[in-house]
């Protein structure tokens, strides 16, 4: 089982805010920092823009982990979007854990535009945690749906 997990390459969706975390990820890229390629980035205006349904829907569509990242408290372009998001995600993560979804799959963090290295480190950490719990099985839809 451990070998199987070592082989397993998780798919992570990262919702990054336009003003800080996306720029941080960009900085990690242009600075040629190494981080695992398992992440798919979705750029959003603010971490407060992320509806918890995005996270649920991502899990349903088969991703193994979700990262939501925004500006540090006090840095939000919209003043307090990140602080409202912090409350929402505290409740969401707790709810998902309550129904039995592994908390290792759901991540929330602050990354500023200057923190390319921190972004890379957080991703390492997220991917490590998801690798530990293996491929997502709960909440994954088995029926193909016509779009």
């Amino acid at each position: 089982m451990i070998e199987a997990n070592a082989e397993f390459e998780p798919r992570i969706v990262a919702f990054l805010c336009n003003w800080c975390s996306y720029a941080g990820a960009d900085l990690a890229g242009v600075s040629r920092m190494q981080y695992p390629p398992n992440v798919r980035v979705v750029r959003v205006p603010c971490s407060g823009r992320i509806d918890p349904l995005f996270v649920l829907k991502a899990l349903q569509n088969g991703v193994d982990g979700v990262l939501v990242s925004g500006c540090h408290p006090g840095d939000c372009h919209y003043v307090s979007g990140n602080l409202l998001a912090r409350r929402k995600f505290a409740v969401l993560k707790s709810l998902l854990e309550h129904v039995g979804v592994e908390p290792e799959r759901i991540h929330f963090s602050w990354v500023s535009a200057a923190e390319g290295a921190r972004f890379a480190e957080i991703l390492e950490r997220v991917i490590g945690a998801v690798r530990q719990v293996g491929p997502g099985t709960k909440m994954v839809k088995s029926i193909e749906e016509a779009q």
């Binding site: 409350r87 129904v99 929330f108």
Partner: protein
């Protein structure tokens, strides 16, 4: 409850006579045993239909938006003044709806009562082991005749809704008139564990959750019974984006219930109306009590008890908890927040 029921009827007659209300919203008995229905009176003639007993489970606040929007009894341009019977949870729903700008205090005349707790017909059915054919009350005892299993005597206390068992505010928190004697909030009831699941292992919790939602037939009766479901378009009905697939896949059911549970955070007053409305007796409480307990512990919100305090997810504090957040280099497991 008998005396309160009598007082209620005469109070409603008086309010109509004085012209203080255009409509009255209360409960009437229904043909289904052990169920009461919401009932709208336009004049004092139907006052004998009003009941107040231990089967008055619907949350009357859920009907208000509809009544205020297309008022059947309204004359002219003035909004109708609606009188309604409010037990503890209904009054807290009213506070929640006022804060969300869904109803206005001026249009309501609230008759507050103390609620001894409602009975859970799913529990009754489980006790008698059959369909409930008829039920007769004598005081707090209930004689139930079930199809195929004869007659059973039950005590109301044994078949209370779980939400009523742990209710902290049995008396209306907001009212213009109060019938009977108000009771002080039950502080001891506040921290009752929401669900037996809290202590269970993750896999156990998951299989319970899966087992419950798998029975859902998506009738959305829980949503219709809920005063908090006032969205013009529910995410469950949205077609672009279509959050919930039109399939029989269990994850679609899970998504509906998790999405709805999240929307209840900071708004659910634990009235149990959804639990009573569910035709399949799904354990909805495991979800709503969880988010409610969370906002209580994390943000100090006792839902529906203050008109001034904004909803917990519409405000923030700089010192809010961050222990659930991911930092580089913290240990592997134990990232849980429960």
């Amino acid at each position: 409850m008998r005396e309160v029921e009598e007082q209620l009827r005469s109070e409603v007659v008086r309010l109509f006579a004085e012209g203080a209300i255009d409509l009255f919203l209360g409960y009437s008995s229904s043909r289904v045993p052990l169920r009461s229905a919401a009932c709208v009176l336009h004049d004092a003639d139907g006052v004998a239909r009003l009941v107040w007993n231990r089967t008055c489970t619907p949350n009357l606040a859920a009907l208000l938006r509809e009544l205020l929007r297309s008022p059947p009894g309204a004359t002219g341009d003035a909004p109708p003044r609606i009188g309604l019977l409010a037990k503890g949870c209904v009054s807290r729903s009213l506070v929640t709806l006022m804060k969300a700008n869904q109803i206005s205090r001026e249009s309501l005349l609230i008759i507050g009562v103390d609620c001894p707790g409602m009975i859970d017909r799913h529990k009754v059915a489980a006790r008698v082991g059959g369909e409930i054919a008829a039920a007769i009350w004598s005081g707090d005892d209930l004689a139930v005749r079930a199809t195929g299993s004869g007659e059973h005597i039950l005590s109301a206390e044994d078949v209370l809704l779980d939400d009523c068992r742990t209710c902290a505010h049995p008396s209306a928190v907001l009212s213009d008139r109060f019938l009977g004697e108000p009771r002080a909030p039950r502080r001891d009831a506040l921290d009752d564990p929401a669900s037996s699941l809290t202590e269970a292992e993750p896999e156990e919790r998951w299989s319970h959750f899966q087992g419950e939602v798998a029975r859902c037939i998506r009738c959305y009766a829980c949503r219709e019974a809920c005063p908090n479901c006032f969205c013009t378009e529910c995410f469950a009905d949205a077609s672009d984006p279509r959050w919930i697939g039109v399939t029989t896949d269990e994850t679609d059911l899970a998504l509906f219930h998790l999405g709805r549970a999240f929307h209840q955070a900071g708004r659910c007053v634990s009235c149990g109306a959804c639990v009573s409305a569910c035709p399949l007796g799904i354990d909805l409480r495991m979800l709503y009590e969880k988010v409610n307990g969370d906002v209580k512990v994390r943000f100090g919100t006792d839902v529906g008890t203050s008109l001034d305090e904004p909803e917990p997810l519409c405000r923030f504090a700089l010192e809010d908890d961050e222990t659930f957040m991911t930092e580089p280099g913290k240990g592997g497991r134990g990232m849980g927040v429960r």
